[in-house]
């Protein structure tokens, strides 16, 4: 029987994801199909493979393909103090609540190359919370984690970062936190002194600590609904009562199974608060 090429492509893609999971335990099967397909099409071009099956073959026989493929599978777009309004709200409305805890834990889920983490670390330092805070930065891409741990960013992005930082309500300049060398900026090592970098998958792994603030921005958009629900379930379990969850600008809890368990804290900035009665 003949199958339409598009359909065949879907089958091949699923098989590829299965192979990836079976061989390397990276589970992308719950990711949103359309987006995965587009990203992997770019990968096909890059690896010079005519079809997903060929890519699968390559992946199974050559482990060195994996890190390069992961680059395509995980989208590593980020900027520091992205959506400054979000950070301003954190500063003004969330931090006073966090100050009532003797020790604070912050989880940056899907930290990618670390921009979000450094933004939060800088914000917490500026608000005087850094000393009693532990940050957990997790991602599934070991390469991204390494880059996050290095904290080196292209110099030409600093203008945008600095502008964002200023608009987030900062009282000093972002340049206080980095050293420019050649065409790169290296962030202050002490910013990650209180950070645990770890490989953690929202698909398969479970909760590891009791958290006061979770930032998981522009991660859920790549997931399909059941996986989104799983991730939000993890957040719900990890958060303390009245703990905070920050999502990306286009993400919402409204259709999630856990929607009733969260209250909207700052709806415009997509900051939610875990309800006390569930």
């Amino acid at each position: 029987m003949r199958t339409a090429p598009a359909q065949r492509g879907d089958v091949e893609l699923r098989l590829l994801l299965d192979a990836l999971y079976e061989t390397y335990q990276y589970d992308f099967r719950g990711y949103s199909m359309a987006s995965l397909k587009r990203r992997l099409s770019h990968a096909l071009e890059r690896f010079g493979c005519p079809s997903f099956s060929v890519l699968q073959h390559k992946l199974l026989h050559d482990a060195s393909v994996l890190p390069r493929l992961l680059e395509y599978l995980t989208v590593t777009v980020s900027e520091m103090f992205r959506d400054p309004g979000f950070f301003r709200t954190l500063r003004q409305d969330v931090v006073p609540h966090l100050k009532t805890y003797p020790s604070i834990k912050v989880w940056v889920a899907g930290c990618s190359t670390g921009e979000e983490l450094y933004s939060l670390a800088i914000l917490f330092r500026e608000e005087g919370l850094e000393a009693r805070t532990t940050f957990y930065a997790t991602d599934i891409n070991p390469d991204s984690l390494k880059r996050a741990e290095a904290g080196v960013y292209e110099l030409d992005r600093m203008a945008l970062f600095t502008d964002n930082h200023r608009r987030s309500g900062a009282r000093c300049s972002l340049s206080d936190y980095y050293t420019a060398a050649y065409d790169a900026a290296v962030f202050d090592k002490t910013l990650r002194r209180r950070t645990v970098f770890s490989d953690h998958s929202l698909v398969s792994d479970s909760v590891f600590a009791e958290i006061q603030l979770i930032s998981c921005r522009n991660v859920l958009i790549y997931f399909d609904r059941p996986l989104q629900d799983r991730a939000i379930g993890l957040f719900h379990e990890a958060l303390v009562r009245n703990g905070f969850l920050g999502l990306g600008a286009k993400e919402t809890l409204r259709f999630s199974r856990y929607a009733p368990a969260f209250a909207e804290f700052a709806p415009r900035e997509r900051i939610y608060r875990k309800g006390g009665d569930r």
Binding site: Q25, S32, A34, S35, R38, R39, H42, V75, T76, V77, P96, H97, K99, T100, Y101, P102, S103, K105, A131, R132, T134, Y136, Y182, D183, R194, T195, V196, S198, D199, H200, S201, S204, D205, S206, V207, F208, A209, E210, N218, L220, I221, Y222, R241, N242, G248, K250, E251, T252, R254, F255, G276, D277
Partner: protein, 1027 residues
């Protein structure tokens, strides 16, 4: 020597010399005039083929000298003058040929050099062509240059990005040689070249320079050439080449010529790289945008779906509304009809009540009248009886036979009248409730024998057989009032004998299946018609008016019997058929129950034959109530009442007062429901089928779980004092009025509303104390504030609190001490504690506090809100009971010897997990040590292995921790020989196989996935615990 001068073939110089010598010899031996010297031109021409520009001139010079020598030493021949002239021409020719040769070779070499340079340029351009990245470009350029220039070593540095110049490739350099990664402008020779853009040449390279290596050894090039590649005045790359041979002009020239093209290639490769990066970045951004827009679209679709669903449900709602309106209208009509009916009923009820009251009045009057009358009648009757007796005795002997007979008749009639009056009196007494039972143990065999003996004579006189039968299963003794029972049975026996002409009368005693004792009196007499079977128990009624005349009797016997049996807590049944005899059965409980209500049991069995058993108590029936729909409601009332209609009334009333209601129809069920549902109030009836309501009340008050529940007793018997003494909050005597019931509910409600919660606030600053008190206080929360630790302890000892808010800084002792004292001393109850502190806590301090308190609040702008929140939580127990995780931990309580006294190190930074794990292990007798990261774990282990301290038996290691993570810590531990065998179990939140393998690879003995399963944890620890 340059690469363009052909290396002379070894023989060529010799050949030239040989030919010169040959010509010289020929010249010397031949006489003058023999033009042998002409052959001198040959060697000169030969030199053209030896690529050395000086050689033709040199040979020409030599040849000139030799020609002169030949002239001088040749044997004479031709005229010397001519010869000299000839030779002169020859010399000139030789020089001419020599200079031509010189020019020719030089030109040739220049042409070759140009060719070399051009082919070099072309080849390099070819190498650099195409879409190459910087590393490839560097590699290609360097390899080419080294090979082309025949350099032995080389390194190339390319400019990457805006300013940095980085090494991209080396040639012939051993891997371990130290070649700088980057070059700064002005830093060394390379830096100088970078800065000036000029080629630098170094001759006689000193020690420690760029080295050349092969498998056989390594060496140091003698000459060094450093060339920058420049375009538009900026240096794009620098190459350093090392030579063993000296560096030629051409090498430098080639480098100068390719300088620009290489620079351009580097620049464009840089551009390309940046472009590529930008393209990928753009792609990624586009991807994110697309994902976002997809998310939006999905959200949009969901919204649309929802709005469609909403529309659907709206239409459905509209339809429902229409339907509701319709039903409403109908209901209204029905309500009106019902109202009418109700009014009518109310009127009828009022009339009935009036009648009932009238009747009660009349009945009382009647009873009183009868009682009085009997007395009044008996007094004169007594006199007439005595006198009639005197007359009948005829002591004077003055009466005729006839008169004596008449006197006897008067006496008999009087006695009958007296019996009648006694009966009437009894009946009146019973009906007026003035007769009491006096229970005592009765031996059944003796009792029955006595009874039968009394009637034996009468029966024999009538020719009837009178027998009795005592069943084996009947108990030897029962506890009842023997006088009343005797009265009843005598009545029945005498009736039986009276109404039986022939045949037999039998008295049988047996045990009913429900445990009660049945006395049956069976006869073979005339029997009673079915339609009269009910009426015969009514006072002054007999089966047939005619019977009365024939058999005599007052007709009160059965009525009295029935009332007496009721008094004994039993019943009387009848089964009979006309002409076939009758059976009267008296059923009484084996033990007289004072509290038992008087039953109104039906007199007839449905079948019409003697009843085999009484209906069993209604244990199984259950009234419909709200037990299925108690959504954690606090307003639940338990109704304990076996009378279903009355239970319904209470149920409706409860709903009216917006309580949920549970109904129990007997005592055991009531206790079970009260324990299970913990209602907020109980309405209790005393007369229950299985056991008395008083025992229910007692059980409720004895159980700690139900002790606090207010119980309101409603009973038809007056147990007011007993009930209140047992702890009931109120008592109502049936029949009750509706207003009384409502009042009872109101009492219960106010009781509920006044369950005031008490909070103890310990705070030394009076202003803060006041603020916190104001914040927490409400009509349901009473706040007690104290300023010192001593006061706090005193308060805790004297009263109970639902929650305690504790400041850590107190004038007389710290909050830590207070908490420790409370937890250690049994005198103090330990309410939930909220620590409210103004200072930042050290991690160790927080850890210590967490043992006693789950919520620690640091004072600040938003702390008031959180304090109120946490306090409310404790006071109202929003989250009922324990969280599931903790509840699970509580199940494991059994103390196993395996962990007793063992030392376990928990390495974990999450307080929640530390608390959970230690709460499992500590009850098992394990001694817990805590480290918050790998470094602390190592310290703790070191500490524990010191002589004099207890070594650690097992380590539980979390993987994700600050400072030093679990895997590193395990590796460090395993490096120490004395800790090689120390059992380590890792706790990981990760599900992947590799992570588990990674912990085993690092040296852990086992691993456990989070969330932690208590049973698994314990069994793992038991497995790995060293024996």
């Amino acid at each position: 020597m340059t690469r363009f001068q052909r290396t002379p073939t070894p023989g060529s110089h010799a050949a030239i010399a040989a030919s010169v010598i040959a010509v010289l010899l020929a010249d010397l031996y031949t006489p003058l005039g023999m033009l042998a010297w002409v052959f001198y031109f040959l060697p000169v021409v030969f030199t053209y083929f030896v690529w050395q520009p000086a050689l033709p001139l040199a040979v020409a010079g030599t040849v000139s000298v030799l020609t002169v020598l030949g002239y001088l030493f040749s044997p004479p021949g031709l005229d010397p003058w001519t010869s000299m002239l000839n030779r002169g021409f020859g010399v000139v020719m030789a020089w001419a040929l020599g200079s031509i040769g010189h020019q020719f070779v030089r030109n040739k070499i220049a042409i070759r050099k140009q060719e070399w340079l051009q082919s070099g340029q072309t080849a390099l351009s070819d190498r650099m062509a195409g879409d190459v990245t910087l590393p490839v470009l560097g590699e290609r350029v360097l390899t080419f240059l080294a090979e082309y220039l025949e350099a032995q070593a080389g390194a190339i540095f390319l400019k990457e990005g805006a300013s940095r110049v980085r090494r991209f490739a080396t040639y012939g350099v051993p891997l371990d040689a130290s070649v700088p990664e980057c070059v700064e402008p002005g830093d060394g020779l390379l830096g100088a070249a970078l800065k000036d853009g000029r080629i630098a040449k170094v001759e006689g390279v000193p020690e420690g320079y760029l080295t050349v290596g092969s498998s056989l050894g390594r060496g140091r090039p003698l000459h060094l050439l450093i060339a920058p590649f420049v375009v538009d005045g900026t240096v794009e790359a620098v190459v350093e080449l090392g030579f063993f041979q000296p560096i030629s002009e051409a090498d430098q020239e080639l480098l100068a010529r390719v300088s620009e093209s290489v620079a351009v290639a580097v620049r464009s490769a840089n551009y390309r790289g940046r472009l590529h990066g930008l393209l990928e970045e753009t792609q990624r951004q586009a991807e994110e945008l697309q994902a976002q827009s997809e998310e939006l679209r999905t959200a949009n679709e969901e919204l649309q779906e929802q709005s469609q669903a909403l529309q659907l449900s709206q239409t459905r709602l509209e339809a429902q509304q229409a339907e509701l309106e319709q039903t409403n209208a109908q209901l209204e009509e029905q309500a009106q009809a019902l109202e009418l009916q109700r009014d009518e009923l109310a009127r009828a009820k009022a009339a009935l009540e009036r009648h009932a009251a009238d009747l009660r009045q009349a009945s009382r009057y009647k009873s009183e009248f009868l009682a009085n009358m009997s007395h009044e009648l008996r007094t004169p009757l007594n006199a007439s009886l005595i006198l009639a007796r005197v007359l009948a005795d005829n002591a004077g002997g003055n009466l005729t036979e006839e008169q004596v007979k008449q006197a006897r008749t008067i006496e008999t009639a009087g006695n009958d009248l007296l019996a009648l009056i006694n009966d009437v009196l009894d009946l009146a007494k019973v009906e007026a409730g003035r007769m009491e039972a006096h229970p005592e143990p009765v031996g059944l065999a003796g009792f029955i024998g006595q009874l039968v003996r009394t009637f034996q004579v009468v029966a024999e006189e009538k020719g009837l057989r009178l027998s009795f039968h005592l069943a084996d299963e009947a108990p030897p003794t029962i506890e009842t009032d023997p006088k009343r029972l005797d009265q009843v049975l005598k009545n029945l026996l005498s009736n039986a004998i009276k109404f039986t002409e022939q045949g037999e009368v039998e008295l049988a005693v047996r045990r009913e299946p429900d445990g009660r004792i049945a006395f049956s009196v069976r006869d073979t007499g005339i029997g009673i018609a079915e339609d009269q079977q009910t009426t015969i128990f009514e006072p002054f009624c007999q089966a047939d008016g005619a019977v009365n005349r024939k058999y005599g009797g007052t007709g009160l016997g059965l009525s009295i019997s029935r009332e007496l049996v009721r008094l004994l807590g039993g019943e009387i049944r009848l089964s009979s058929a006309v002409g076939r005899g009758s059976t009267f059965t008296v059923v009484v409980p084996p033990v007289y129950d004072r509290a038992a209500p008087i039953r109104r049991t039906p007199l007839l069995d449905q079948t019409g034959v003697p009843a085999a058993s009484a209906p069993p108590p209604k244990l199984a029936t259950r009234s419909a109530d709200d037990r299925e729909q108690l959504p954690g409601s606090r307003r639940v009332v338990l109704i304990v009442e076996d009378d279903e209609p009355f239970a319904r009334i209470l149920y409706d009333l409860a709903h009216e007062r917006s309580f949920h209601a549970l109904i129990a129809s007997h005592g055991d069920e009531a206790v079970a429901l009260a324990t299970q549902y913990a209602p907020c109030a109980v309405l209790l009836d005393i007369g229950l089928p299985d056991h008395s309501g008083l025992s229910v009340l007692d059980q409720l008050k004895r159980d700690a779980r139900t002790r606090h529940i207010p119980v309101h007793v409603i009973s038809s018997h007056d147990y007011h004092d007993t009930a209140l003494a047992l702890g009931a909050v109120g008592f109502l005597l049936k029949p009750v009025r509706r207003e009384q019931l409502i009042e009872a509910f109101r009492t219960l409600e106010t009781g509920l509303a006044h369950q005031v919660r008490r909070v103890l606030v310990v705070e030394d600053d009076p202003v803060q104390l006041d603020t916190v008190s104001r914040l927490l206080a409400s009509d349901r929360v009473e706040v007690v504030g104290v300023g010192t630790a001593a006061e706090c302890l005193a308060r805790l000892e004297s009263a109970s609190f639902d929650c305690m808010v504790l400041d850590l800084n107190l004038p007389d002792a710290s909050g830590f001490t207070v908490l420790e004292t409370i937890s250690r001393d049994d005198r103090y109850p330990f309410p939930p504690v909220i620590v409210h502190t103004g200072r930042d806590l050290e991690p160790e301090e927080e850890q210590a506090l967490r043992k006693y308190s789950t919520s620690i609040i640091v004072k600040g702008a938003r702390s008031a809100e959180r304090l109120l929140d946490e306090a409310t939580l404790f006071l109202h127990k929003v989250e009922s009971g324990l969280p599931p995780q903790q509840a699970a931990f509580q199940q494991v309580r059994s103390r196993s010897a395996a962990l007793e006294g063992r030392h376990i190190l928990i390495v974990e930074d999450d307080v929640r997990n530390i608390y959970a794990v230690s709460s499992v292990l500590e009850p098992q007798g394990a001694v817990i040590h805590i480290a918050r990261n790998g470094r602390e774990a190592l310290d703790a282990l070191r500490q524990a292995s010191l002589p004099g301290s207890q070594p650690i038996d097992v380590v539980l290691m979390d993987l994700m921790m600050p400072e030093m993570d679990g895997l590193t810590a395990i590796r460090e531990i395993r490096m120490r020989p004395e800790w090689q065998k120390l059992p380590i179990i890792t706790l990981t939140a990760k599900a992947m196989r590799q992570d588990q393998e990674a912990s085993l690879a690092a040296g852990a003995n086992d691993y456990l996935a989070k969330p932690i399963d208590v049973d698994k944890l314990l069994s793992l620890i038991r497995v790995w615990m060293p024996r």
